[in-house]
């Protein structure tokens, strides 16, 4: 069994890791990822939460999240947690809206289209 080495999972400096050869080609970020980034920048600059608040949620997710979720998936979870804590909307409101969004269509383009008809 691994002994606790005195640092949290996200503190990776000095640990093990694979080779940096054969890197996947760089890609730009998808629109939804840029929107997550924009929400983070805008809502922190408006004072609803801080970078420390983002990092607190990211670090509390644990190492499994780092392996199973993409970078902006983790950011989305952390932004949402902070906004709920700030009281900007409730988890009930979020759940209802997510159901409504998902009913608009099976792709991001359809679901994000503000002109899509919500079928309640």
């Amino acid at each position: 069994m691994d002994r606790f080495d005195g640092k949290s999972w996200h503190d990776m400096g000095g640990g093990e890791g694979g080779a940096l050869t054969d890197l996947p080609p760089d890609h730009d970020f998808a629109l939804w990822e840029k929107r997550v980034d924009a929400l983070m920048v805008l809502m922190t600059s408006k004072g609803h939460f801080s970078v420390d608040g983002l990092r607190r949620v990211l670090e509390d997710m644990g190492p499994r999240a780092f392996e199973t979720m993409s970078y902006y998936e983790r950011w989305m979870a952390a932004v949402n947690q902070n906004l709920v804590e700030a009281g900007l909307y409730t988890t009930t409101e979020l759940g209802e809206r997510m159901e409504r969004v998902a009913r608009r269509g099976g792709t991001y383009g359809l679901a994000a289209d503000p002109r899509s008809t919500d079928r309640d």
Partner: protein, 220 residues
């Protein structure tokens, strides 16, 4: 490649190559994910409740897209050609780059200069902190476990995996960024560019040379 065009309000186009020189991901054409659904829902709730406008979000994405390694290259090329600016940059990176229109906001920027026998390289072992005002968004490998864990332990070997083999007597300095403090590397000016102006020099400055995992392009 087929695309639906539902994002005219953002003046955002998915086709071809992005301003930062990478192909776009075709996110609109793949099945909707849980986290994408949450992003749409959160954004709509924030807009409806008056916490942010769609125009603010679009403008922020435009600002993000406008930031690319060309910003950093302009800073490096000016440091190579303007001794007073170089001095200012090394003394107060935040102020010197803000003066050029590349505002880092409330964070601090430290410019670290390569010199004969000393090579600098940057990392964020805790997360993914990066000089976004000068280089845009970080590449995937910068955020990888392999880079974050190994660079501080065996930098010479990591650099060799990027194709950068440094002489054994070169000192390698690894700088670990934080949420509040970012680094950028000022690489050494390539030989044979003595009579080049800043614009011409900037074309030699690569993204990786400002991270420290590469060198500028040679003059030839």
């Amino acid at each position: 490649m087929p695309h639906d065009h539902h994002d005219h309000d953002d003046h955002f186009h998915h086709e071809g190559i992005s301003p930062s020189g990478h192909p776009y991901r075709a996110d609109d054409d793949t099945p909707l994910t849980y986290w994408q659904t949450m992003e749409i829902a959160v954004r709509e709730l924030l807009v409806e409740k008056g916490h942010v406008t769609a125009a603010e979000i679009a403008a922020q994405i435009d600002r993000m897209d406008a930031r690319s390694p060309a910003n950093g290259a302009a800073v490096v090329a000016r440091a190579w050609t303007d001794p007073a600016f170089r001095e200012h940059l090394l003394a107060d990176g935040s102020a010197a780059t803000r003066e050029m229109g590349f505002d880092i906001g409330p964070m601090h920027l430290l410019a670290v200069e390569n010199t004969p026998g000393v090579h600098n390289v940057i990392v964020c072992t805790l997360c993914s902190c990066y000089p976004r005002n000068l280089l845009g968004l970080p590449p995937d490998w910068y955020k990888s476990r392999a880079y974050r864990s190994r660079l501080v332990r065996e930098p010479r070997r990591v650099l060799s995996e990027f194709g950068l083999t440094l002489p054994a007597d070169t000192t390698i300095r690894v700088h670990d960024s934080t949420a509040d403090m970012r680094y950028v590397v000022i690489p050494e000016r390539p030989a044979g560019t003595e009579d080049w102006d800043a614009d011409r020099l900037a074309a030699l400055v690569t993204r990786d040379s400002m991270i420290g995992t590469g060198l500028p392009r040679p003059a030839a």
